[in-house]
């Protein structure tokens, strides 16, 4: 396993944009979008808890959603973010996750009402084109494959479903995977292979691939001591980051059969080994981890209300990398930070959302000399 990395002496933590003071009146909870000192109150119908932000591939659109069961799609217009639409007719219960399709025209929303809605974007409007049913209870996560024609959902019913969509927007279930023994919290696709990863309350991460018309579990990553909440692949897809209730982030690396490091593989499936554990940095559960596809920086969302950013030391051994904490923003929110997401087009732009009902945007600058 990798060594613990402490912030290097002489590095100033990254500069952060000044965060504006809370503008809402005491006691009132309003969902607000804010950037650089400006707070935008949400339209009526308050959203008490912001659970997730997702950026589409062009970086322009952001969707966030709330416990109230609504979804809000916000669009960038210059320096400010405006809520363009509220989708309140799709679900009967909490909307837990949203995901933009790779082409940017579709939005998938996973809900505690056991369904997943697919919305098609029509200028500023969204229309629900399909509702995917089948899970027995709360759907926890949804993710589009980079190819755009596969979708994965996971649920508290311990299963992961893989769906295929054709040119006529028809969705078909391709596989139901019952590998986990507990609630599945998160699914994510590999950036360039048809490989699916899932994280669960059973403390493991599982990987799946297609084999003869069906999907099978090809690897189980054990090591976390508690629920694994979220996953993120690095830009190359060779490494996977997982964050957990055990307050650590683990970095796993893929070793294909016949690798030069001599890591044993069974059959033709690659082996995954934990090459680094980041522990001692977070004081509470880590709910989300995001790996920037542009810069390789790793951001975490923590139950201690803070956001942290880690960067890999350029001189470290690829088989045993060390990551340094390059930014730590305590009290980024006034409650648990649930989700962080990097903008795929603008370097250093990070969005976060929290139980305090707010979505915040941050500008991260790498420390000098990195």
């Amino acid at each position: 396993t990798g060594r613990l990395a402490a912030p290097r002496p002489g590095y100033a933590p990254a500069a952060w944009a000044e965060r504006c003071l809370p503008g809402s009146s005491a006691g009132a909870r309003r969902a607000a979008l804010r950037l650089r000192g400006r707070t935008y109150p949400a339209p009526p119908a308050v959203a008490p808890r912001s659970l997730l932000v997702a950026a589409d591939l062009r970086g322009a659109h952001r969707a966030c959603l709330s416990r109230g069961g609504e979804q809000r799609a916000g669009f960038a217009a210059g320096d400010s973010w405006i809520c363009k639409s509220v989708l309140s007719e799709g679900h009967q219960r909490t909307v837990r996750k949203v995901a933009w399709s790779p082409c940017g025209n579709y939005l998938a929303s996973a809900s505690f009402d056991a369904t997943t809605c697919i919305w098609k974007k029509n200028q500023d409007d969204f229309e629900c084109v399909t509702t995917l049913e089948g899970h027995e209870n709360e759907v926890k996560s949804v993710a589009w494959a980079p190819s755009g024609n596969l979708l994965a959902t996971c649920s508290r019913d311990k299963s992961v479903w893989v769906w295929e969509v054709d040119e006529e927007d028809e969705y078909e279930c391709v596989s139901v995977l019952n590998s986990h023994t507990q609630d599945v919290k998160h699914v994510v696709w590999h950036p360039n292979q048809e490989l699916l990863a899932s994280a669960s309350y059973d403390d493991t991460v599982k990987l799946y691939r297609e084999e003869e018309d069906d999907w099978v579990c090809c690897a189980t990553l054990e090591g976390h001591e508690s629920t694994v909440w979220s996953l993120a692949f690095d830009p190359s897809g060779q490494r996977l980051a997982s964050c957990s209730d055990d307050r650590t982030v683990r970095i796993w690396r893929q070793y294909p059969p016949g690798n030069e490091q001599g890591v044993a593989c069974s059959g033709s499936d690659p082996s995954w080994k934990c090459i680094c554990t980041l522990s001692g940095f977070h004081s509470r559960t880590i709910y989300d981890v995001a790996w920037c596809q542009l810069t390789g920086a790793l951001a975490t969302a923590c139950g201690d209300d803070a956001i942290r950013v880690f960067e890999e030391d350029p001189s470290s051994d690829p088989q045993q990398p060390t990551f340094s904490l390059t930014a730590h923003l305590p009290q980024a929110h006034s409650q648990d930070v649930n989700c962080v997401a990097w903008n795929p087009k603008e370097r250093g732009l990070l969005a976060s959302c929290s139980d305090d009902g707010e979505v915040a945007f941050w500008k991260y600058q790498r420390p000098e000399g990195l």
Partner: protein, 137 residues
Amino acid sequence: MAGSQDMFDAIVMADERFHGEGYQEGYEEGSTLGIIEGRQHGTLHGAKIGSEIGCYQGFAFAWRCLLHNCAAEKDSKKMKVLESLIGLIEKFPYDDPTYDKLHEDLDRIRGKFKQLCSLLNVQPDFKISVERSGLSF
């Protein structure tokens, strides 16, 4: 003289001897009862699994007949999954409770059944018996 030593031996060791004999008798009786209880438990559990798979098999056969005459392209995918489910059920080793992949295969069968229901647009909510509602095994 040797005879009287044996006799004292028998008296002195009597306590331990009775203890040992009692333990043996108890152990044998416990084993017998354990086997009976185990068999009952196994029968129940096995019946549950059998009942569940039997249900899936009946469902699959019925749908195979229904879809038999359909030549639509869409239905070919359904037939494929259907045949796959039937194949999994037929391959399952019903007479080997020590099969090491028992639960893995069972989960595969359940997953295949759920996928089939999704493709056929059928809700798996059968009433097995009067007392139980829904599909619970």
